[in-house]
């Protein structure tokens, strides 16, 4: 009886492993393998070499794109975590109906198409966009500002806007789970609103903050569509570089090497985020 049961369990486990293997591990392995190949006469030569990685490390153009991308992702993560906290804190403990409406307002953009959201921001920032026309009609500026679009700043702004729900929601959800008794206890012991925030709310919502920063960083570091659509010639990022290697340049091995680099960055961010999401007091309880 138990032998048959464990056989069924084994089969299920094997199926799960097989699905994971085919859908995730195998493509990644193919990528990893490609990153060691090279291109000759528009043909992929399947010979093992570190040439792509050497090129990555030695070419200052690629290095600067890499550093620029990490810096961009960190900036977006920082800005959105702060803004996410401000919005989540403002949404915290509202009346039932307002509460629901606010969550909906934050979550609905997640259901919209990514491209539509990007175009919305682009239309807002453009020379004939809402921001410029408002500023001109108010007489604050004489002619439309051109520097709002097609540069790194535009990429930063668009990433922040589009990724904001990923910051607000995890922070808000953990914040809502902080028992109000603890806030009362802190106030009872003499804590001001600021002290309540830094000693109770913020540390207890740390797992949500970790989730928010990890998601935002990973999305921001890997995105290629936003730099492509609003970045112009200056807004060049790692994601865009990978995209051009696979598309325009038709250099799959080099693109694969860049992608492996991105995966390493992403995994590092996830591991760091995991550590932050499990603070010491929670690990000790387990």
């Amino acid at each position: 009886m138990s032998g048959r049961f464990s056989g069924a369990t084994l089969a299920k486990s094997a199926l799960a492993v097989a699905i994971l293997g085919v859908l995730i591990v195998l493509p990644l392995a193919v990528f990893l393998a490609h990153s060691f190949y090279r291109m000759e006469d528009r043909e992929i030569v399947r010979a093992f070499s570190f040439a792509n990685y050497a090129e990555l490390a030695s070419n200052p153009a690629y290095r600067s794109v890499f550093v620029q991308t990490l810096w961009l992702a960190l900036q977006v993560t920082f800005i959105n975590t702060v803004v996410g906290w401000i919005v989540a804190r403002a949404m915290w403990r509202r009346r039932q109906r307002l509460h629901f409406a606010l969550i909906l307002a934050v979550a609905v953009p997640l259901l919209l198409s990514y491209v539509i959201k990007i175009y919305a921001v682009r239309m807002f920032l453009g020379v004939n966009g809402l921001l410029n026309s408002t500023l001109t009609s108010l007489g604050i500026i004489d002619e439309p500002l051109g520097f709002l679009l097609f540069n790194m700043a535009a990429v930063r702004i668009t990433l922040c806007v589009v990724l904001l729900p990923y910051s607000i929601l995890p922070i808000f959800l953990t914040l809502e789970r902080v028992p109000s008794r603890l806030v009362q206890a802190a106030e009872d012991l003499g804590a001001s609103a600021t002290q309540v925030f830094w000693t109770v709310l913020f540390p207890l919502a740390l797992p949500g903050t970790a989730m928010a920063t990890t998601l935002t960083f990973v999305f921001a570091a890997g995105d290629f569509l936003i730099p492509e659509l609003v970045g112009g010639p200056n807004g060049f990022t790692l994601g865009r570089l990978i995209f051009t290697q696979f598309g325009l340049a038709y250099n799959w091995p080099f693109g694969a090497a860049l992608a492996v680099l991105l995966v390493v960055v992403t995994l590092t961010a996830v591991v760091l985020g995991q550590r932050l999401a499990q603070p010491r007091w929670q690990r000790q309880n387990a």
Partner: protein
């Protein structure tokens, strides 16, 4: 007196939780606010703590109105029902929270916390997290966290309700001792009348947002001022009666069980003809075993039920003259029917005039 609630009313969602409640808290006393759920007892505590705001009335601390001060600026600290310990802080950080946010330096804080932990018998536990402690230990951390601020009043909101019976007893003794040794005023909220009697200097019995009676445990138990208090404070045997006559120290009553005599207490304001409720505690009802009982307050009854309760037994009596009336009697030790029982389980029960209390039959 250290704190006075002066005609405090609290309306919450158009529902009057407290109605013109007045209450004095004396310096250094252990005052228990006792009442069933919904009586408003926790609201009183929250108003004092500043967690809730009263609708009208005044809250005077040493003569000053503190009703609009935020909780953080009142010299009171609360021990919450579920302890409300900060899960992300160690025991030492929890206990030191109050002084720390007020900017005490690290060295003083360390020794103060250590002292506070010793005081609640948790020395050496400072590095643990609340989740690693037992219920009783968390309770003591919560108490230490309140006492370390040297508050004028410690407010305790049913802090023992989550503990099992044995631990509860221990914590009652512990809390009482902590209150005595610190000299701090305790205001303790509970629905458990045994707990209230065991711990308090004074008890404030609340019901329906009002104070029913305020007094020492003995006063509350033996001299209830109304029906609610007599029935809420432990078991009682009640009997409707009419005041027949009153002389110097005795009240003669007429009841379904015949004429009875009650000792006249100084606060009684009954006039002849008043409808009253006579209350006799089960432990005050005696069974006439040897036939030597006095002639007053003798009741012939039938034992209809017996229950062995360990230290004593409970006999339930029924009376031939009054159907549906049952009295409980506590007998020490032997749960067998007393030898005095005649045929068909008939016994003679009696009680002393001083062992009964009269309350108005009408009213709460």
């Amino acid at each position: 007196m250290v704190l006075r609630l002066d005609r405090v009313t609290k309306v919450y969602n158009q529902f009057t939780v407290l109605q013109e409640l007045s209450l004095d808290v004396r310096r250094g006393e252990f005052l228990t606010i006792l009442g069933p759920s919904g009586s408003g007892k926790t609201t009183v505590l929250q108003l004092i703590a500043g967690i809730a705001q009263h609708t009208s009335g005044r809250l005077l601390f040493n003569g000053k109105d503190i009703g609009r001060l935020p909780a953080s600026q009142r010299p009171f600290n609360t021990v919450f029902q579920d302890y409300a310990l900060f899960p992300h802080m160690t025991v030492a950080d929890n206990v030191g929270y109050g002084p720390r946010i007020k900017g005490m330096n690290r060295r003083d804080l360390l020794s103060l916390v250590e002292q506070a932990l010793e005081h609640v018998e948790l020395g050496g536990m400072g590095k643990r997290y609340p989740a690693q402690l037992s219920g009783g230990q968390r309770q003591r951390v919560a108490l230490a966290r309140a006492l370390i601020n040297k508050p004028s009043i410690v407010l305790l909101d049913e802090p023992l309700s989550a503990l099992d019976a044995v631990l509860r007893r221990q914590m009652q003794v512990f809390l009482k001792a902590a209150q005595r040794s610190s000299g701090v005023t305790f205001v303790f909220v509970t629905h458990d009348q045994e707990e209230a009697v065991a711990m308090s200097d004074r008890i404030c019995v609340m019901n329906g947002g009002r104070v029913e009676q305020l007094g020492t445990p003995a006063q509350i138990y033996h001299e209830p001022s109304n029906r609610f208090v007599s029935s809420f404070m432990g078991e009682t045997n009640a009997l409707s009666a009419i005041v027949w006559s009153i002389d110097n120290d005795r009240v003669v009553l007429r009841s379904a069980l015949g004429d009875l005599i009650a000792y006249k207490r100084p606060y009684y304001a009954f006039v002849p003809g008043a409808e009253v409720l006579l209350n006799v505690r089960p432990e005050s009802v005696q069974l006439d075993v040897s036939g030597g009982a006095p002639n007053t307050n003798r009741l012939v009854a039938k034992v209809v039920d017996r229950a062995f309760l360990g230290p004593n037994s409970k006999l339930t009596l029924a009376f031939p003259q009054a159907q549906n009336l049952h009295w409980d009697v506590r007998t020490l030790g032997n749960h067998e029917l007393p030898a005095a029982a005649g045929k068909a389980g008939e016994v003679t029960a009696w009680f002393r005039p001083e062992d009964c209390a009269l309350v108005p039959a009408s009213g709460s």
